[in-house]
């Protein structure tokens, strides 16, 4: 007890608030702000809205909870995450399995567990937690990082939760796990030769993966190659998204005004397709601002990783950077028709409590890493 208290006190003292990354914090806040405004704009003409809490209010509540968590986590030394990596891994697997068993049905997928009236998607949390688990493992590999076994074990660690999520079925999140794995392995210094070989193997086995997909997943997946293949069915969403994005032009059609009629054409708009609203309402300029914010955010995260005091901190940072970059690529890529349609949220912007809280938790860890880097450079 005494030791534990002393550790916490010490870990809190070890921080240096002058090192708090204001830029990172600012970009995050701006992205959340974007999400709130866009969600409002999207829902503005939705005749179904108006009952219960509005998404905007909910988002603000989630953001408040998330920011509190952010500051708490930031003020505590992130070492606990590495220490608890084992139990966390077990907990993640357990919770994902639990979600499969008791999850509520949302758009045909068991993806969330309702706690105190608020839907909670463990798959979102599990992404951040798995970054910690993987970082702990990779950090422990040290000089053996270049071995094939590193890649195999890391892959196995990731494969279990990825498989559980895939079976929910949540193909998107499963893909994010793979994106995180590749990004972290790459930046940890894992053997490029082995990675390339494995990647070739995975690409070779892609047809098998496609084969075990549900029909609707497969259809949506390949819409982006030729949206006109099934304009009324699976590709309807994508065609409408392209129309909405395209009609944004340089400066967009204006908030809440933009494509009033278009709104209803894109289901789950305030979630996965939120970028269509950004692009339609605020145009090319608005879209570029969002991309720029993500670019700056990823830059700050990589910087924090580079400067981290230990390998674990670095790995957590590059994991988060990989996750965000991957999600931005797949989400926005999907909306603008260069990526298959999968259910991956746009970090911070997409409406969703679990995603937002998980991300802010991750950002808190990042600040903790930042404030404990002993050797600030740049």
């Amino acid at each position: 007890m005494g030791v534990a208290t002393a550790t916490i006190v010490e870990s809190v003292r070890g921080r240096d608030w002058r090192q708090f990354d204001l830029q990172l914090f600012l970009y995050v806040l701006l992205l959340i702000g974007f999400g709130v405004v866009m969600g409002y704009s999207a829902g503005f003409n939705d005749p179904g809205a108006g009952s219960g809490m509005s998404e905007m209010v909910k988002t603000l509540i989630w953001a408040t909870i998330g920011l509190t968590l952010f500051f708490v986590v930031a003020s505590v030394d992130y070492g606990w995450l590495r220490m608890l990596a084992g139990p966390i891994y077990v907990a993640v697997l357990g919770l994902l399995a639990l979600t499969m068993l008791i999850g509520t049905n949302l758009f045909g997928a068991q993806m969330s567990v309702t706690v105190a009236g608020l839907d909670f998607q463990f798959s979102e949390v599990s992404k951040v937690l798995m970054i910690g688990v993987l970082a702990a493992y990779l950090a422990s590999r040290r000089e053996r990082i270049g071995r094939l076994s590193t890649i195999l074990v890391a892959g196995a660690l990731m494969a279990l939760p990825a498989f559980l999520v895939f079976r929910q079925p949540d193909l998107g999140t499963a893909l994010v796990f793979i994106g995180i794995l590749i990004g972290m392995l790459f930046l940890s210094g894992a053997s490029l030769g082995w990675m390339g070989l494995l990647a070739a193997g995975i690409i070779g086995s892609a047809p098998i993966v496609v084969g075990i997909l549900q029909d609707y997943q497969r259809q949506r997946l390949f819409c982006f190659l030729d949206p006109s293949a099934d304009p009324q069915g699976a590709c309807f969403q994508l065609i409408q998204a392209l129309n909405a994005v395209g009609s944004g032009g340089w400066l967009g059609r204006g908030l809440t005004v933009g494509g009033e009629g278009q709104r209803g054409y894109i289901p789950v708009q305030s979630t996965d397709f939120i970028f269509t609203v950004v692009a339609e309402d605020l145009g090319f300029v608005g879209g570029i601002v969002v991309l720029l914010l993500f670019g700056l955010l990823v830059w700050r995260i990589l910087l924090i990783g580079w400067q981290a005091r230990d390998a674990f901190g670095m790995m957590v940072a590059v994991g988060l950077a990989s996750m965000i970059l991957f999600q931005v690529l797949v989400n926005i890529g999907m909306v603008i028709g260069v990526m298959p349609v999968t259910g991956i949220p746009l970090p911070f912007v997409t409406y969703g409590g679990s995603s937002l809280i998980s991300l802010l938790f991750g950002m808190g860890i990042l600040q903790s890493i930042r404030m404990r880097a002993h050797k600030p450079t740049l």
Binding site: V245, G246, G261, L302, A311
Partner: protein, 637 residues
């Protein structure tokens, strides 16, 4: 725990990989930005156009239907706002259907099966609104509106429906139902034929009477609006009105609703006292062909149709043996009996069979030439009249005289003169469902698979029996042609079309179908004969009416149908008459026909009906109506 204080050397940091990763990130963002540029800036217009096309649609805007007025500008058919219950199938969950329909049925008072049948019958998109009950009461409409939350997919719409009025401006469909007709929801066949003309799935269309025959003018021109819709087809807002709807033109009928009332009253009385099941009275201006009244009884209530008739009400009408939905004046054909002697007389004189003065013997029973001895055709007067010339034969309605005329003339010339007087062909009145009738001729017989018409049948044709069937309107029109000096008119039901303010914008001119090819003297002889029918013939006390002008006319009876309990055939009586309605005038401007089907009393009910109508029409003080027991005083023929 040791790892907590690991130094920064625990894992080699690879600047190369960091740089590579950063470059990848930049590349990803640049690619996304580039694609965004391509979508929004380079091809923005294309997508914006597609998006606009997707969410906007041109929808038709119904035009207010034209009204129908009588010749005195009394409104007869008007449009009133009414509530219609509609269902958007896409918004009504399948497993909720039964409950929702049951509740709507409860609130509207229509049975559930009917509502569901109407919903099932609809073939459009599930996002279309399907009208399932029109003419819903205000109360029910408000209740359904209040329960909207519990009735998913059910919508209350305000739509105009027809209301049919009588001569006093009160709701009263039956007075003019056969003339005005009614509107109703378009059916599948009609839609198929008319979709190209812009008719809509939930459209209303004239189904009978003037509503049907003047549909084009009454409907107007639908407008078009460009509306913005969401994905489920709900209309969000009107972008612009592409074309304003043009209200339909109002139709002004030739009918005078007051005269229609008087004719209805007279006919109703006659049918009542003589226990007649079907009756017709038509009043016309013989100079122009304008129909002033057209009564067919029993009538139906077209207001029941305005909001979509219930299947019960409809099957009651259909099951009625007297066929109240049919306009007996134009849609049913009956043997004309002695009234047809007009045709035989004209034909005989024009074909040179006889002259106005030539006398012919008449018989109690006329031996048909070439038939075995004893096979004779009776005169209604079994004693015969002795020798008669045309005028007296017509006035006394001698059957044996006209048997001879018909046989001497021959069936084909007789048929040709019938056609000359408008029989055996459509009169051309602008009302739907007109019948042509049957006029025996050699061609007709061949169509029956026979070589020709038997001589006995030719004789029968001469007195309008057996092989001759006409509509009451054709009969009236033939006498009108004789009365007006030989112009076969096209009967008119409408005077013209007016705009919304009642100004006539198109006047329908009287139309002469053709001039009857008979000599003036021939027609004059028949006019004299028709006058004699009233003055010295057997029309009994009609001559005592204090009329402004000289009345001429002809009675007729046909015995056909099923034997009564007494073993006689039912009496079907005709009376057709015309007169100038001003003192001293010679040109008849009023012509009336009455036909009563299946009377149980002998005698001419129709003559009584016309007599009573004239009393009412000229507001005469003396009531000359006979007691039904004395109807036989009016000899049937």
């Amino acid at each position: 725990m040791a790892d907590l204080n690991d130094g920064r050397v625990d894992l080699r940091r690879s600047p190369g990989r960091f740089i590579a990763f950063s470059l990848l990130a930049v590349l990803v963002l640049l690619a996304l930005g580039g694609r965004l540029f391509q979508l929004q800036v380079v091809n923005g217009e294309v997508y914006a156009g597609r998006a606009a096309a997707d969410r906007t649609a041109e929808v038709p805007v119904p035009a207010p239907r034209g009204l129908i007025f009588d010749r005195d500008r009394r409104p007869i058919a008007v449009s009133i706002p009414s509530w219609t219950v509609k269902v958007r199938p896409a918004d009504l969950p399948e497993d909720d259907l039964a409950r929702v329909m049951a509740r709507v049925a409860e609130l509207t008072g229509t049975d559930r099966a009917t509502l569901e049948r109407r919903l099932d019958a609809f073939s459009g998109s599930p996002f279309d609104l399907v009208p399932i009950e029109r003419g819903v009461g205000r109360e029910a409409a408000l209740l359904i509106g209040e329960e909207a939350q519990d009735l998913p997919g059910v919508v209350i719409a305000v739509e105009p429906i027809r209301q049919y009025l009588d001569e006093t401006g009160k709701v009263g469909g039956p007075l003019l139902s056969h003339v005005v007709g009614y509107t109703g929801p378009i059916n599948r066949d009609e839609l198929e034929a008319l979709e190209v003309d812009g008719y809509l799935r939930d459209d209303v269309i004239g189904k009978a009477g003037v509503e049907a025959s003047f549909e084009e003018a009454l409907r107007g021109t639908y407008g078009t609006q460009l509306v913005e819709r969401d994905a489920s087809g709900r209309q969000l807002k009107v972008v612009e009105t592409v074309r304003e709807p043009t209200a339909g033109n109002n139709i002004m009928l030739t009918i005078d609703a007051d005269i229609q009332r008087l004719a209805t009253e007279a006919l109703t009385w006659g049918m009542d006292v003589a226990d007649v099941s079907q009756g017709v009275t038509v009043v016309m201006n013989p100079q122009t062909g304008e129909i002033l009244a057209m009564v067919s009884l029993p009538a139906y209530d077209n207001n029941k149709f305005a909001g979509g008739i219930s299947s019960e009400d409809f099957s009651v009408y259909l099951a009625d043996p007297d066929r109240p939905l049919r306009n007996h004046a134009i849609s049913d054909i009956y043997p004309p009996g002695s009234t047809y002697k007009l045709v035989t007389g004209i034909a005989a004189m024009e074909e040179g069979v006889t002259t106005p003065d030539r006398q012919w013997p008449t018989y109690g029973c006329y031996q048909i030439p070439g038939a075995p001895r004893g096979e004779c055709l009776y005169d209604w007067n079994r004693q015969g009249f002795g020798p008669l010339a045309m005028v007296d034969a017509f006035a006394k309605s001698s059957d044996t005289f006209f048997y001879q005329m018909a046989i001497q003339t021959g069936i084909d010339p007789l048929a040709a003169w019938a056609r000359e007087l408008g029989f055996g062909q459509l009169s051309g009145i602008r009302l739907p469902s007109e019948e042509e009738g049957i006029i025996a001729s050699t061609d007709w017989a061949r169509q029956q698979g026979r070589s020709g018409v038997f001589t006995g049948e030719v004789a029968q044709a001469g007195i309008g029996q057996n092989v001759i069937a006409v509509t009451p309107l054709q009969m009236l029109n033939a006498y009108a042609a004789v009365a007006n000096g030989g112009n076969l008119m096209r009967p008119m039901i409408a005077l013209g079309e007016t705009d919304a303010s009642g100004e006539l914008i198109e006047t329908y001119e009287p139309e002469v179908v053709h001039e009857v090819a008979a000599a003036d003297a021939t027609l004059q002889t028949m006019r004299v004969g028709a006058r004699e029918v009233i003055t010295s013939g057997h029309a009994y006390n009609i001559r005592d009416l204090d009329l402004p002008g000289a009345l001429s006319g002809k009675t007729g009876t046909a015995e056909f149908g099923e034997l009564t309990d007494e073993g006689t055939l039912p009496f079907h009586s005709w009376f057709v008459a015309y007169l100038p309605s001003a003192a001293g005038a010679t040109d008849a401007d009023l012509a009336i026909v009455s036909f009563n089907y299946s009377a149980v009393v002998p005698g001419n009910v129709s003559a009584e009906v016309v007599k009573y109508f004239l009393q009412l029409y000229y507001d005469l003080d003396t009531d000359l109506r006979l007691d039904p027991n004395d109807f036989s005083l009016l000899t049937a023929n």
